[in-house]
């Protein structure tokens, strides 16, 4: 698939993002600028960046790929995250903006003395971002290998090097502007493909739907397996995709980049609108077009009848059909920009947890100087890059959707309950937060490992120990229940100073209302 146009566009993406990084690096000196872009980002800009953070290559190509293979789960992937953003709007955006400065663990840690809760929350954030990062690296390697003919490992190394440069030199400002640029390019690319698709059916979307439905009758003859087949899996995946969004550190830390609560609220509304528009177009125009136009054309399928490069490549093949090598080059470049932007956001969150929470606050007990912390931040960025590249190579061929669902499940089961209880429940004790979070983390990862996707498909045992790939419906309530019960039993920890601290924080969390 290698084409000079695609290579030229890839180079344009790389040069543009490096120029953004150079511009940002000149404006990034202090800790606040590194972690939170000096809180100088507007609500609309942050909304674009949040949309960019959420719309990863694996999510976008994955949704179209699911629909292309007749898997109705695609609908859940579009609808569920929007509920998460509503919950974020109601409960999380303002308190985070008003209480925190750089990272999510510091907001949770405000409630408790000692370093345990902060260390745990930082570790849970790291687990989530690393799982998500592996998924992006695996996706990046596979995509670039297919699109440019570059070897998988080299593709992973190139992506890792670029993400390290963005984050280590440009900090949050570069990451945000790379993300904003990517979101705009992605929206333009999706709209361009929509126009070309509709022009092929004389702008009659009804005709596109009838052609696609007719193809569905022919090609989707057997029942597809997916989460929607059982009520348990439907609800469990729905919970993970919706509330998991509220526990993704790289999305949450975006609220520190805006100046006030009003801009934080605006960013969510902007992000929701953009995500909904792009996802709806991808599912109901592009995936339908892929079903209508690609099936029956042997040049897009291998000898076994499988789409070349896998179902995730449906949109890329469609672009080639609609606009030849030029459009395919554009789509490939947009995908590349998407990957770069998302991995930069994830690296920012991981390095922030390592440098600010684990090193500066837990290890150095707040005694680290700003310069020292920024040095550690750069080293942490390098470490995260090396780990991500190694794991990206090691996990080559692993199901990307599964890795993403792993990140969402852990975020929904470990991060979300602790964050919500810390913000809103007066009775939460340090022990309750620690045990609840640990139970959520261990049970969600444990059930995922014991489920069919790892126990049977990866470890090759005959029967899974846990019958589903979707643990959130059990793991999240278990985490909440453990935190509640432990806090109630931990009666000695309830005292007047703790209550006063909660009241002060609750008032401060909504101070923008006054």
């Amino acid at each position: 698939m290698r084409s000079p146009i695609a290579i030229a566009l890839f180079l344009i993406v790389i040069v543009s993002t490096l120029l953004i990084t150079r511009w940002a690096a000149r404006r990034t000196r202090s800790r606040s600028e590194f972690y939170a872009a000096g809180s100088s980002i507007t609500g609309t800009q942050n909304g674009l960046a949040i949309a960019g953070d959420f719309m990863s290559a694996s999510t976008i190509l994955g949704v179209a790929g699911l629909a292309f293979t007749g898997n109705s789960d695609a609908v859940l992937y579009i609808v569920a995250p929007l509920l998460g953003f509503t919950v974020m709007l109601l409960f999380i955006a303002e308190p985070l903006r008003n209480l925190g400065r750089y990272t999510v663990p510091e907001v949770v840690a405000l409630r408790f003395t000692g370093r345990g809760v902060r260390a745990f929350t930082a570790a849970a954030s790291l687990v989530v971002t690393i799982f998500y990062l592996i998924a992006q690296m695996v996706g990046a390697g596979a995509l670039i290998e297919i699109l440019l003919g570059v070897p998988y490992s080299l593709a992973v190394v190139v992506v890792a090097t670029l993400m390290m440069l963005y984050v280590a030199f440009g900090g949050m400002l570069a990451t945000t502007w790379v993300q904003i640029t990517k979101a705009i390019v992605l929206i333009v690319g999706v709209l361009l493909m929509t126009v070309l698709t509709l022009s092929r059916v004389d702008y009659d979307i009804g005709s596109l739907y009838s052609t696609a439905r007719a193809q569905m009758e022919i090609v989707f003859t057997s029942n597809r397996t997916g989460a929607l087949n059982s009520l348990y899996s439907t609800i469990s995946l729905g919970l993970a995709l919706s509330l998991g969004v509220c526990g993704l550190p790289h999305v949450l830390m975006r609220f520190f980049t805006v100046p006030d609560a009003r801009q934080a609220r605006r960013s969510i509304v902007v992000a929701m609108v953009l995500i909904a528009i792009v996802f709806l177009i991808i599912l109901f125009v592009l995936a339908y077009a892929a079903i209508a136009f690609l099936y029956g054309k042997p040049e897009f399928f291998d000898d076994a009848g499988v789409l070349r490069g896998g179902a995730n490549m449906a949109v890329v093949h469609l672009s080639r059909l609609l606009g030849g090598d030029v459009l395919m080059g554009i789509v490939a470049a947009v995908t590349f920009a998407t990957i770069l932007a998302v991995v930069a956001g994830l690296t920012m969150a991981s390095a922030g947890a390592l440098a600010h929470d684990l090193y500066a606050q837990v290890f150095r007990r707040g005694a680290a100087t700003e310069a020292e912390e920024l040095r550690v931040f750069r080293l942490a960025t390098l470490a995260v890059t090396v780990v991500a590249a190694l794991l990206g190579v090691a996990f080559k061929g692993t199901n990307i959707s599964f890795l993403v669902s792993l990140a969402f499940s852990v975020a929904a089961s470990a991060n979300f309950p602790v964050l919500m209880l810390a913000l809103y429940w007066r009775g939460l004790t340090k022990r309750g937060a620690l045990l609840g979070g640990a139970v959520g983390l261990i049970s969600s990862t444990g059930m995922l490992i014991a489920g069919p996707a790892i126990w049977v498909d990866v470890l090759h045992y005959q029967q899974p120990l846990f019958g589903s790939n979707y643990p959130t419906l059990i793991a999240m309530p278990l985490a909440l229940l453990t935190a509640w019960a432990t806090s109630l039993l931990d009666a000695r920890a309830h005292d007047a100073p703790a209550d006063r601290l909660f009241d002060d924080l609750a008032a401060k969390a909504t101070q923008a209302e006054s």
């Binding site: 609908v75 609808v79 929007l82 509503t86 609800i235 729905g238």
Partner: protein
């Protein structure tokens, strides 16, 4: 000083309760949507893909709730400001 503090506490408490109510409604509607999706798939595995209304309604409900919350809180804030002004 103490009055100011108890006033902000009162506001925070009311706000948390209203948010809880709105989130409860959102989650209940979402749960109902999930059950509908699951039932539709039992009848026809491709139903959610074939029928665009599933996604449009799902997305629409979330938008209505999110934007409704923004408008409702905006109104509440205006009321609070007017009261504080008096």
């Amino acid at each position: 000083m103490a009055d100011e503090s108890s006033e902000s506490m009162r506001r925070a408490r009311i706000r948390a309760r209203v948010c809880l109510l709105l989130a409860g409604v959102s989650c209940a509607v979402f749960l109902f949507f999930l059950v509908l999706l699951n039932r539709a798939v039992q009848q026809d595995p491709l139903a959610p893909l074939r029928d665009v209304r599933f996604s449009v309604i799902g997305v629409g409900i979330n938008f209505a709730l999110a934007l409704g919350s923004v408008v409702a809180f905006g109104y509440w804030r205006r009321l609070e400001r007017t009261r504080a002004g008096r």
